[in-house]
């Protein structure tokens, strides 16, 4: 018999329930408020008292209210029909909700049970299968969507039958499997999975060895993100985290993108709702929305569901990875998730860690990041989840618990710099503080050599040196004055500026400049390094600044022009003329 309970205490969304039977940690329960069931999750148990966090406002809730426990943890529904949906943090379909305002206790189905799918079998009777094995395939929008043995199935099964080609609904029986004891079990196209438990239906998780192209030059060229890799973008407010993530979500080379808006602004999600159905994916020519799913718990939506939203996103990503797809998961901002944890921990009067965050914050964050990755599935196919999160450090100070914990978990660090943002050097990623650990992986270096060019890795590390030396030169000039340093310092500084303006800076709002494929990135970096290797002849430091300014201006025009168009080549010609005028002989 299901456990029931009564409310005995209410402090904001922390509700204490006296239970009449067994209760488990993270179990879901429903609290009855004047006929409306409010969903809640058990977060602590003391004797018969279950401390629950309610995913809704508790206004009007009274002592003695009835509670029923559900016997399972917070789950998402997995099946065809997730693609292109707009969900809230608990996977309610926002478009199916009635009314302009969110009504508490209104839960909608994540997957339309009436939708029919064209099913083609993959497995056949007699096949040996296990959790995650592909039984068949439907076409979801334009994407092949595998119907798998439910992840909750443990052990080995034999396929008894698989439906023939035809139209089925998600709750229809699609296959019958026989378990090791000879018992038959039916499988549908739909399954449930608890969000806080990783889906492990794969054989092996190697180190990432491929690059995920994002079209953002300062990332791809200087500090590339690996496919199946992890990265994070910390930065003070207004420095460009969201704009950068949106750029990546539009351009990245992924089959599917899951955008998790976690405790941020509603208007930013509305921007995606509005633009993605219009914008084209440059690789497939399809609308961006056709490869995107949005999980949205904006800052004014219930705090506990905010914490759930990142797990909901990750679980859906794992489901699609198990189909052999390249999934990119974005979360903005993971700090809001950490703050949601802090709010609950404070209400439960737990012993606080640094900045009043829960003590186990670092472990929670690293467990989450570890769910990303490139995998070999049991059938030999590959799939990946690349995860890129943002962090919003209090006061813009990177020495705070969320940034520090994330730094330990993520392999790429894209630090946004306030000064760069103030002087509109977007994207404001600090080229010197930021890093990609993947660049050190021999397998990644090999990949870059093979896929971009033989000496690409050297070019990248030279670029970093140029930037560093440019910064040093600028510091010297500031200390000693323009005429207190050799002219060469000015040259060094300006050569770094060329790299900064031409490669690092990128206009996210210009149709051409906003996305640069690797081929063009390589071409541009070569041109910039040519300038670097050229010896110039300047009579005084006053000649240096106007010369490079003009060069930069021409390069910028090139960035705004169609690649290898007449205009593009024209600017290059002008650049070469200018260089020849000044070249030392």
């Amino acid at each position: 018999m299901a456990t029931k309970g009564k409310v005995t205490g209410i402090i904001a969304n922390l509700v204490i329930v006296e239970a009449d039977g067994p209760v488990s940690q993270n179990e879901i329960c429903y609290i009855n408020l004047k006929g409306t069931d409010l969903m809640a999750e058990v977060i602590k148990i003391m004797g018969v008292k279950a401390y629950t966090q309610v995913f809704e406002s508790t206004r009007g809730l009274k002592i003695g209210a009835d509670v029923k426990f559900m016997g399972h943890m917070l789950e998402v529904t997995l099946g065809p029909g997730i693609l292109s949906r707009n969900y809230d943090g608990l996977q309610n379909d926002l478009d199916k909700m009635k009314g302009v305002f969110l009504k508490r206790g209104e839960y909608t189905e994540a997957i339309d049970p009436e939708a029919e799918w064209d099913f083609t079998p993959i497995a056949k009777a007699g096949d040996k299968v296990e959790a995650g094995s592909w039984l068949g395939e439907v076409t979801e929008g334009w994407m092949p969507h595998k119907i798998m043995v439910p992840f909750k199935f443990s052990g080995n099964y034999t396929v008894k039958s698989v439906n023939s080609k035809g139209k089925y609904k998600s709750k229809d029986k699609i296959a019958v499997l026989t378990d090791e004891k000879g018992k038959d079990v039916e499988v549908t196209m739909m399954q449930k999975w608890p969000v806080k438990v990783p889906i492990k239906a794969y054989k092996e998780k190697p180190r990432p060895f491929k690059i995920m192209e994002t079209g953002v030059r300062t990332m791809d060229t200087l500090n590339p993100l690996a496919e199946g890799g992890t990265g994070f973008i910390p930065g003070p407010f207004g420095c460009g985290k969201t704009v950068l993530q949106h750029a990546v979500s539009q351009q990245a080379e992924a089959d599917m993108i899951i955008v998790t808006a976690c405790g941020e602004r509603a208007n930013e999600v509305v921007e995606i709702f509005t633009e993605f159905p219009e914008l084209e994916d440059p690789r497939t020519g399809r609308k961006l929305m056709e490869r995107t799913t949005i999980i949205c718990n904006t800052s004014n939506m219930p705090v506990a569901a905010r914490e759930a939203s990142v797990y909901t996103g990750m679980t859906i990503a794992e489901y699609y990875r198990a189909m052999g797809l390249k999934v990119l998961l974005l979360a903005d901002s993971t700090s809001r998730w950490a703050q949601a944890l802090r709010e609950m921990s404070n209400r439960m009067e737990e012993l606080p860690g640094p900045d009043a965050f829960p003590m186990d914050l670092p472990a929670i964050i690293s467990n989450f990041y570890s769910r990303a990755g490139f995998v070999y599935l049991n059938n030999g196919q590959t799939g990946s989840i690349t995860f890129l999160g943002t962090v919003s450090p209090a006061g813009g100070n990177l020495k705070e618990p969320v940034t520090e914990s994330t730094k330990k978990a993520a392999r790429c660090f894209y630090a946004l710099n306030q000064d760069r943002a103030d002087s509109k050097r977007y994207p404001a990623i600090d080229p010197i503080d930021s890093y990609s650990k993947y660049l050190e992986y021999p397998e990644i270096q090999e990949y870059l050599k093979k896929n971009i060019s033989e000496n690409w890795v050297e070019m990248v590390s030279l670029s970093k040196d140029i930037l560093l030396r440019g910064r040093e030169a600028s510091e010297q000039i500031n200390i000693l004055g323009d005429d207190g340093v050799p002219i060469e310092y000015h040259e060094r500084f300006w050569k770094a500026e060329v790299l900064d303006f031409v490669i690092l800076q990128q206009d996210a709002f210009d149709n051409i400049d906003k996305s640069t494929p690797f081929e063009r990135q390589e071409y541009m970096l070569e041109r910039v390094l040519e300038i670097y290797h050229t010896k110039f002849d300047f009579k005084s430091f006053e000649e240096v600044n106007p010369f490079f300014k003009a060069i930069i201006n021409l390069f910028k025009q090139m960035n705004y022009a169609e690649y290898k168009s007449e205009k593009f080549d024209g600017y290059l010609k002008q650049i070469n003329e200018k260089i020849n005028e000044r070249k030392a002989v």
Partner: protein, 440 residues
């Protein structure tokens, strides 16, 4: 709010702290309001049969036998067209001598708009102030605060923006407003003949601080009525949100919550977001735009209040005195309107984004030159020119006393560029330079 016959009166308070009192009571709803010896209070915690009430005007003089009456509902306001032109206190009671407002009674601090039912903001709000329209363009449905030290004229600028904004309703939420500022708003709206469009919820420095906590929700619930039900363009002014946050910290500290940064409650982000996220553009044309004031202490934007605000709002307008021209300007570095890209170059001239960026970049170069000068170095020719440019730019475009249309702002920009720089020094797209670079 009278007591009806069936309401039970409790007279046994078991605990009194600076902001709260507790008593044994049954059948009480969370966040329900009550009267404690006539003072308004709200349920903040229920544990077993013990109910804790936060008393908005403070607990001074509350005896253990005070009369406590529960009202069976959360705080409410009556909304109707009768609100227009009226002045209320934080509880929504009239303070202008007029009659109580009749209308539909709604709970304040109600639910959020479903994000998929919102429309992307797209209507530009012209203010005539170039520091805003040129560099930090505002859009209906936006939420944006002024960041300013207490000695800056933020209330004046805000009133000016409000009056020029062509809103159907302006709702003023005053929190810890000095009486002088309250009268200033009253006068300026009156003189502009706008009083019938204005609705005010005022908590002055003379009122207890905790009462302020009701003001934003009152103002925004009224705003939702006009924007959602009447499809009107509503502008909500909230001043000063720093004093609102201070009141939050008073309450949470008195309830023994563990403070996070700057002794603010750990929930500050969520608390502020709930208010600011009420800004919305409805598809039917109604909108709520929030312009707020967050006063800073010594220009410090890393303090928890401006910091959390910045993470929530869609930009900020930073006021500071420019000593070179002796005027208050909208600082182009620290200010930002994140919704500007939805309108600039689209509803304004095509050169807008690039003129904006070039101007700010050159102004930044001037700031570097100034640092150089202060460090005792010689300036080169380019430095000299940026300094001259910066002064003109500040005087003719950044100062808050500018009142011109956006095309004139752009023309002024080009004129200043041409006066001080060469085309190549701008880094603007060629086709735009060809078109707009002054001919003579």
């Amino acid at each position: 709010m009278e007591t009806s016959a069936f309401q039970k009166i409790y007279t046994k308070i078991t605990q009194v702290t600076k902001a709260t009192c507790s008593l044994k009571a049954e059948g009480i709803g969370y966040e329900e309001i009550a009267r404690v010896n006539g003072r308004l209070a709200q349920v903040v915690k229920i544990q077993g049969d013990t109910v804790t009430l936060q008393i908005f005007s403070g607990t001074e003089g509350i005896p253990t036998n005070a009369e406590v009456v529960f009202m069976g509902k959360a705080p409410t306001i009556k909304v109707s067209d009768e609100l227009a032109g009226r002045f209320f206190n934080a509880y929504g009671d009239p303070i202008d001598g007029g009659p109580a407002v009749e209308g539909k009674e709604v709970e304040i601090g109600g639910p959020s708009v479903n994000p998929v039912r919102r429309k992307q903001p797209s209507e530009l709000i012209p203010t005539g102030i170039a520091g805003i329209d040129l560099n930090n363009t505002l859009v209906t449905g936006q939420k944006i605060p002024f960041f300013a030290d207490p000695d800056q004229p933020f209330n004046q600028v805000m009133a000016m923006v409000a009056l020029r904004a062509k809103a159907d309703k302006i709702i003023l939420g005053g929190m810890g407003l000095s009486n002088d500022d309250y009268l200033f708003f009253k006068n300026i709206f009156d003189n502009a003949g706008a009083l019938d469009r204005i609705i005010s919820f005022i908590n002055t420095t003379e009122n207890p601080p905790v009462e302020r906590l009701l003001v934003p929700d009152m103002a925004l619930t009224a705003a939702e009525y006009f924007a959602h039900e009447k499809h009107e363009k509503v502008l909500v002014l909230l001043t000063d949100m720093t004093l609102y946050a201070d009141a939050l910290s008073i309450v949470s500290n008195r309830m023994d919550q563990i403070p996070s940064k700057d002794s603010m409650p750990g929930s500050l982000y969520s608390d502020l977001a709930k208010i600011y996220e009420k800004a919305v553009q409805f598809p039917e044309g109604g909108s709520i735009t929030i312009i707020a004031v967050t006063t800073l202490s010594g220009g410090d934007i890393t303090h928890a209040i401006p910091d959390n605000t910045g993470y929530i709002t869609e930009g900020q307008l930073f006021l500071r005195r420019d000593t070179d021209i002796g005027k208050v300007i909208v600082d182009p570095f620290r200010s930002l309107s994140r919704l500007k890209q939805l309108v600039i170059g689209k509803q304004t001239r095509k050169d807008h984004p690039q003129v904006m960026n070039a101007g700010i970049r050159l102004f930044a170069d001037a700031a570097n030159a100034k640092t150089k000068l202060e460090n005792g170095f010689d300036l080169n020719d380019y430095d000299e020119r940026t300094l001259k440019f910066a002064k003109d730019y500040s005087r003719e475009l950044l100062a808050i006393d500018i009142n011109i249309d956006i095309d004139s702002m752009l023309d002024t920009g080009w004129r200043l560029f041409a006066e001080h720089f060469t085309k190549a020094e701008l880094g603007i797209k060629d086709e735009l330079v060809e078109k707009y670079w002054p001919k003579n």
